[in-house]
Symmetry: D2
Subunit: 284 residues, 4 copies
């Protein structure tokens, strides 16, 4: 299936006829739906849906789809977005010194597992520049200190704009972003090296070892102003035993981190994740 | 959500407008969809869907729903069925001598995890009759031998009819059903104690131990005339090690068997499983 | 392997020759080791080991084994215990109103998965008395209120002594035991319905749902005076999705709870768990 | 723990005193055991053990350890080997056209997860030569055809000898080795892209998709003359659904393959795997 598709992500107050309304909009212009999924949160009275249809034979010019749908969405008080599968999102990867998540994302992008371009790598260290050079990706080293944080973030935001970035991936970027930054650029996925909400914050593997847990985890979530409190996209775990020292937890955790982060990024890039409140609906 | 719902399961050749057609049917009579999921098998050109809507406020008498929908389904060459959540399916459980799957299903039914009535237990042994008596369920002991097989199956079919059974669950019933039987009563879920297609047939745990596998599994599938070849509904696995002898595999496997069988039965009872070809779509 | 064995659990400051010392003790009296495992925590300088040997042909009367080994253990400053596989431990199960863990433990004990006798069930409600009666187990209903807590615990301790209980299993006993109680009877395994240290305390499934986690867990641990802070014996997890409401988390969690608790109790009964500090070594 | 250690792997007919005999040998020369694990296969009467001790303070010159231990092992009819942690094994990686397992192994070796040198990559294609060049590893392209197979294998054996290779890793090398080859160089780990014994041979993902399984797997095993029948070192699985087409199975499977292969290679390199019969004991 490499023919281009459009994908609608929508959430609105629940009412009768929503599935029919959306399906009729697509059908009336000759669209063939290839994936439709829907979820209703009855407690909060929220309808959420993802619909993907083929653009071949769809009798509405691409640039008219959004305005046409807005006429339908407005009375529903809906939040919605439409994406086209042949408009490739642009990713910036943020790193500090660890290379495993970065290499994994780059490898997957080359292997066509991630439908994205990666034109930019940002770091507060020089360490991983050789990787960027090998892959032919621009690498910007922006040191961070408490004195220069505001200035550094301003430069980061400039770069995100300059490179026309759609999604920032914090691939073991061991720095906290300011509230102001996240307000201005909210499309950020972070990987935290614990099974949240266990062990938020620093040194989770050391604390997991100290607590004597039998399973460790990793969590990919959207970054929010509350550290490690953002909407969770994906989690996974692995067993550990008394034989595993902190170094073993770190080693096993690296595999978790790259798997979980890669899955979350892929789900986001395929427009399969809807955020509402502090939760996600993942149409997988 | 204890208000009654209707659930449509449908499969038909793929074409444009199917989602809209179904959604419009429900909406036009004032139905509120609570769950809609859809899958298209592009390779085979098959559209499959599950739609569930509330019956409160649905302006079509229950007995008219099926004929009304047939008018829509006929030109689509669709296979379909409609179920009502307050019409409780009736289960027969078939056992031989092991009690773990039986007890698990009975406990879950009492705990309201399985929306079903269980009026009948069938066995080729007397062993588990006390369990049936404790739960107040009729227990029929039908011995099986190669000479009496046809006669025994005739009696089993009579009982299924007499008790108005919708689904037969082979909960470690260690006998093979004839082709004729399955033709006449095809709604049968079986639990096989291996990760199919590994180790079909007899003594899978012994063979898994001999082969030195590091993981064992269990498989719930619809029974077909080809032994252990029917459409798979659910599978799960557990790690084993060199320390596990055959008895340990059997012990660990029992937990797998009861979990996997219970999940498959629940999915079936909630009308979440669509069979096509030798595959299942599970709308979970 | 139903021939009786002795099992030594030992921990002491690490030094050279400990494996040899223990093995020689057993070999010098003609013992055949069937399982020997050892772990050294280098950070803390602690040696921990489990050794199991056959009593057939062991030339030391059973009642002399402990004093004879004390002569070896004393200079090592060791903590140790010896158990005999044909001396069946006695379990008390504590419940409140939920039956799933209780039924699971009773079924496993009957199925010979748990090498234990279960002469006593304690509860702060009458609800589960019929289960106790069906299995022929004494059931003591001891209501708890803030006024009567001390008195109730005194009565509980009396019962543990009267029934000669080796291990108390809190099988969804939704009450906190006092420090004094745990000091007097420290052999207690509790099941907590979350993946500790996430969601300690009350209503973990509600909080997991609110947080939007993608995986839930259960934790079996030894009870200590700090609630949900005791040494962890076993944990397991299961995936959940946006479709799972709190009731689904509770349902899925029940399966986790009974599996995890049963595994932890079995490991303890087989003398496979060594506690040191707030951690466990599980020789599985 | 970077101080050098010696590791003994031993298997022999079970008898009394084996643990003591081995521990005494080490203790008598002042060795400090850091890991001792033992397994007895009672069915076959086989004792198997792994013992690791620190060489610092061990009063036996390294080159005398093997002859000295042979004096003990000979009367026990034991198979045994001793390895030293600072003698780094040499790996050859065999590939065809897929790069994911190769890159993963190389990354892990650089990240010090694999205690090995990797001086040689062998392939029947030129495709992956650039990777070898980037990592500074010799790459030998040896085309295979039915006419040249014997000749090619002779050249491969020469290279293994020339590079002094201890372990060959078939990292998606899609060719079958001859019986003669395996007889001459039996230390080979292969990754098979299915949950063996399900789907041995060609195109396992296609066959898994056709069968409609709900879980797929990968298996790392020692190569033997019977294809996909060798002793299993490690397996793992991942869930799939009706939404996963063959391409998705392949994508998910790649992650499994590199994880499972890496774990198996690491276990082998740490001398944690003992083969007996067609089974492995993994002292992890």
């Amino acid at each position: 299936m490499t023919r281009p598709t459009a994908t609608l992500l929508i959430s609105c107050p629940d009412r009768q006829g929503l599935v029919a309304t959306i399906a009729n909009f697509i059908y009336s212009y000759g669209g063939n739906i290839v994936h439709a999924d829907q979820h209703t949160d009855f407690e909060r009275g929220v309808f959420l849906s993802r619909v993907e249809w083929q653009l071949d034979g769809f009798n509405l010019p691409r640039e008219i789809i959004a305005p046409a749908f807005e006429a339908i969405a407005f009375p529903l008080e809906a939040n919605w977005e439409v994406h086209f599968s042949d408009e490739i999102p642009r990713l910036a990867i943020w790193v500090t010194q660890q290379d495993h998540c970065l290499l994994d994302l780059l490898w997957r992008q080359r292997a066509k597992e991630l439908p994205a371009e990666i034109p930019l790598i940002l770091s507060n260290h020089e360490t991983l520049r050789p990787i960027a050079e090998r892959f032919g990706i621009d690498y910007h080293h922006i040191p961070i200190s408490s004195q220069t944080k505001a200035e550094s973030e301003a430069r980061q935001l400039d770069l995100l704009q300059e490179y026309n970035i759609d999604l920032a991936v914090l691939a073991k970027y061991m720095q906290i972003l300011s509230t102001d930054f996240i307000d201005r650029f909210p499309k950020i996925i972070n990987i935290h090296h614990s099974f949240l909400p266990a062990f938020p914050g620093a040194r989770p593997y050391h604390r997991a070892h100290k607590r004597g847990v039998k399973i460790i985890g990793a969590t990919a979530h959207y970054a929010t102003v509350d550290l490690d409190e953002g909407p969770i996209v994906e989690q996974d775990v692995v067993r550990v035993s008394h034989r595993d020292e902190v170094a073993d937890l770190i080693r096993k955790g690296k595999d978790l981190e790259r798997m979980v982060l890669a899955r979350a990024v892929r789900l986001h890039l395929q427009h399969r994740v809807l955020v509402y409140g502090n939760r996600t609906v993942v149409f997988s």
